[in-house]
Symmetry: D2
Subunit: 381 residues, 4 copies
């Protein structure tokens, strides 16, 4: 059966541009879907880089101005993989042009932008999704399923951390290609928007909304050379952030993130402790979910390490055989598969949408505010 074509125009050719391109190319090999993404056009300011990127990934054409891309009639869907400070303007224009929008996380530089953007896509009635890809790690999706099955019950505790160690050297410059995440004027914030936003999105998906937070942040290296200016400049991002939260459900929750944790490459973990059981996940072993079931006979109580690679585990029937793992890139494949499935059946798989992304934005802003005031702050709109 012929597939319905969904023409994609991508903006950004960096790490996320590659991850999205790969997902668009692969999704139909693994998922049986009505829709098929077509890699129509790749957009970047530098034509040569855009062309190299397009050649490498099979984009049919290039653009150097995203406004031109949005204006093209042969584009159905704008995919945003460019730095955070570009999201708002692109989204506003794309929504107005009636394009579907896939936007990298975090949604916006701040709550104000996020509200505008969410209002715009909702008013335009266009399909929209934020690429919080970790919801599609099969083990995390399984965690959601176990909760929905009632296996955890009333949640007492949630704890999350997201630790990396790649910015410890004071020699590392800030800003510019590959390093814009260290430049607050481009990234909006440091680990809060880059890493904790992931932790928060996962948390509110799993156990519901967050009520209040108290936070602390730190910038360990006060000055770094800026790649674009060649000068030593103040570092204004948060190198590390920790906060305590109280969820709407009553759970207590410490969250923590840093890029100064020696030996932690990408340690995104969460643990949930409930009345009937507990769950633990660590992105450094992404194919495993640790689960404690209090209903077992008590002399065999123990954390069970679920190797989330069986056909009955989320997404895994689309890949290889039990016992074989998928990788980081497949979280994007799974996400776009769900998005396409939503277009097909009108169901709710197209999540997190912009409104969900906005909820995370409110929390990030409350965290950053509390780090300044020293007081508990509300996470609500």
């Amino acid at each position: 059966m012929a597939k319905k074509k969904l023409n994609i125009g991508i903006i950004g050719y960096g790490f996320m541009g590659r991850a999205h391109s790969n997902a668009f190319r692969k999704v139909n090999n693994f998922f049986d879907l009505e829709y098929e993404p077509v890699l129509k056009a790749a957009c970047a300011r530098n034509a040569e880089k855009a062309q190299d990127f397009a050649d490498n990934w099979g984009w049919e054409s290039i653009e150097t101005d995203w406004r031109t891309l949005i204006a093209r009639d042969d584009i159905d869907c704008i995919d945003i993989g460019s730095p955070n400070n570009t999201h708002r303007d692109i989204v506003m224009a794309a929504a107005e042009a009636g394009k579907m929008i896939l936007c990298e996380k975090p949604l916006a530089m701040n709550t104000g932008e996020g509200e505008e953007m969410t209002a715009a896509v909702e008013k335009a009635g266009v399909a929209n999704m934020v690429w919080y890809n970790y919801r599609r790690v099969p083990a995390i999706t399984l965690a959601k399923q176990l909760i929905d099955e009632g296996r955890i019950g009333r949640v007492f505790h949630y704890r999350a951390k997201y630790l990396q160690d790649w910015t410890i050297s004071p020699e590392l410059p800030q800003g510019g290609e590959g390093l814009w995440r260290l430049d607050a004027s481009v990234a909006g914030s440091g680990v809060t928007g880059d890493l904790l936003a992931h932790s928060i999105d996962t948390a509110i998906w799993l156990i519901g909304g967050m009520d209040t937070v108290t936070a602390m942040t730190e910038t360990f290296i006060k000055e770094r050379e800026h790649s674009l200016t060649g000068k030593k400049q103040e570092v204004t991002i948060d190198d590390a952030c920790a906060f305590l939260a109280r969820f709407d459900c009553g759970a207590l929750a410490p969250f923590e993130s840093t890029r100064y944790a020696r030996g932690r490459k990408n340690q995104n973990t969460f643990e949930i402790n409930g009345e009937h059981g507990s769950i633990f996940f660590d992105l450094e072993d992404p194919h495993r979910l640790e689960y404690f079931d209090n209903n077992h006979d008590s002399h065999v109580h123990g954390w069970q390490s679920i190797h989330v690679t069986d056909f009955e585990h989320p997404y895994m029937d689309h890949y290889w055989v039990p016992g074989t793992t998928i990788g980081y890139e497949h979280t994007f494949v799974n996400a776009i598969a769900d998005f396409l499935k939503s277009l097909e059946d009108g169901q709710d798989a197209m999540r997190p949408n912009f409104r969900d992304g906005l909820e995370t934005q409110y929390i990030c802003d409350a965290v950053l505010k509390s780090a300044k005031t020293g007081a508990w702050e509300s996470c609500k709109a």
Copy 2:
């Protein structure tokens, strides 16, 4: 060579009474020391229980009034294993009588008591130690050694948690024998004094003093039957407590404790992230220390799991052969060995002393205060 006798009088016959008795009995089998504890007298209000306890552990005599015990000329050292609300009065009397004092943790019900007690032992000039036994888990002592060797460098992060799950059932009563830790009038506080005090003592020993904290506490089960009254009464302890800390050295640190973490039996963990390396410990696998050394060739970087059972590891040359583990009880044996060694050589192994225990008390009180005020509070005297 004949040993110098150190006559001990113990107060309390519960869990800690047993742990201390065992340590006194065993220490000279494993350590070559000038001093030898003599199990002279055990004291408890109930004579029958005191006698059973004495018979079981080999205490030569019993007393039913601790004032009588302290008054005995044949007692050199008072060992306190009774509930927290008894510590102050016993210490004040024992110090006045010029006895050495070993006191279970936490030192006191609060800072006020702790200051009085510390002043008393210092004025009396009597040997004193608080049983924060986890400093003597060989893996934790090794952590201290690695830090002192400069293997960690500037500390960016410390994180600790102490999770248990034994009070989740609402049917569990509060108060009375074995359950006094759930009764604030006897225990002073809940997890803060019972569990976080351990975490804090370890932390300040390893990386130095704590400056400020912001905290939250929760009591999940609001009312429980009281064992002594038979009536449902308000639960006034903290079932859970989480706090953020800033250390004097600049490190950021989330701490958390609860008795509502399904599947965590005694999960006392800490992690330290520094410039040159990191350390992780979990009391559920107490014979292991995880260590990340950033100085290795980078393609073999990885957390190394040190099986802390070799002759060159702290305390382990006193026990069996490499590869064989010791248990929980040996942390007390090691502690009393260090105490006796201090008597012998006048060196500093008799730590934590009361002043150290008081430092932890200040922090616990700051945590409990912050949980009420919602503000950052100072940990200093």
Copy 3:
């Protein structure tokens, strides 16, 4: 720069057909190579299935007779993903036609076939490779590198196991699509050729040739319904196989494989113990390599868990960012990248070639022979 086209004709559309197709499609997205595979034609006896497969993976055309495929002038390279009993005839014809050949493992049904096939490709002088994909798990390639760096020294011990649990149910039929691995007339043997062949290929790559073996096999379920006949028939494969080996280097080595190990999904492990260090690998956590370095200070001796996801780890600079994992499928991508690189530079990356695959075949046959004779058997030609 325009790529050199390498036109592929694939035979087989099952699990391995999918894995190879995916690798051909992806390799140029991730590796910068002169050559580019072109998915020219897919061949299967059933035209409809061939067409579905071709549509799904982007094969340009189909064939239903592999002899026709081999005869096509526009095919440069024959890729064999069909069952074991088809390898010999296809290879003989393809070699004669001067085609490059990529052949799934095990190379052949037995040593006799393997010798013929190896002679044929060597006589024809065509590029040839056997898909022992696990050599390209980055952690296993890193193990090879550590050995080559002299970090292990004289090897005393090697131990390997490959455990699965998918055939325990007596209800599982044998034979037919997806189950031909249970039919000895198609597969040649059971776990020996399917799983131990992997373990052996890895072992001889890492520490050199094997000298002698003594073995035992077992078939736990004696009869199973045959999918093609619908009748209960004797099961003639080995459900399990264990053997002891002595390597040329003097190392002692137990090997074991089964499909009856409850809870082991794909547990392919090996451990090497040498004079200076040890290595451990488990395919269920494929992104980790455990390494013990005896040169460290002895008080920090410990197994270090290398998260094999850094840019300096084998193959990983072609993928995402440090800390993010790749999956099972990438072992095939890495293999074809090495094959293409070999075509480009004439270097030795095109390994294991047929001669290497033949060496494993000798060992498998010695194992199966010993299981019958009960005696030690030679692994040599």
Copy 4:
């Protein structure tokens, strides 16, 4: 209630002498028993060493000739902790004298001795036990319980290894105090009698008798200085031994042991794979038992890590609180507690007795014989 005294005379003051002494001293502190061991006399050829040992552990008197010890009327039970080549003569004399006998493992130098010794104690009708202490690791006792509860079902596979690394250096001498295990004339064999005997005793206790074996052994360092002669002499023990076994129940089983496995300090592991579940144990983490239960819902299938420290776990209600570990020494305490309990109630806890120890001896001898013949050998009498 007054205890019945059981007067012990111990022979040997080395590692095992210490372990046994400690157990005798502690058992009544932790177990409520009718009988109480009395540390009556310690025997060693060197009077000074005997006296030091007696002083350290509280033995009331010493002897320098074990025949004198056995002749003493005030000795009820002879405990043998001396080297393997002394066991037979001591046992024959003690049995004749009607003494109870506790004998370190392995029971004898060989089957011939073992048969004599077993016949002697059975004829004399004296209580007898072999110190295969690992049956009393709570996690191993729990494994036995899970099997007895039917949780494993038909056993397909058993695999065991016992790896150490303390003899790799060629500088290590053989023979003499602390090193007699490297001298075949004293030890009988190398790793087979020292380590594999443990693995075998555990295995046959858990899944029943062994039928046939095929084995290989190796001595890596051919000559070592002998401590007693000061000369380089041939090393005649087995440094390493691996064998394949078939159990009476049909299970296939590789066993392996060595003292040349870098980084493995005391890695005594076993795994059992059965119809309904699997079990894994590792002595380096002795407080854990890994259990796979195939009856769980399949999407939560996973190995559960049982922290064997709860009151309902074997032996653990005698010690501290849930979540706190015991150590190596407690396996001896548990063993003597069971022995004393057997005296009290006449039940079967006094196992392994000499007949059980003899069964292990038959297997060890079959293993050593097969290593010479290269053939499968019978494990039966």
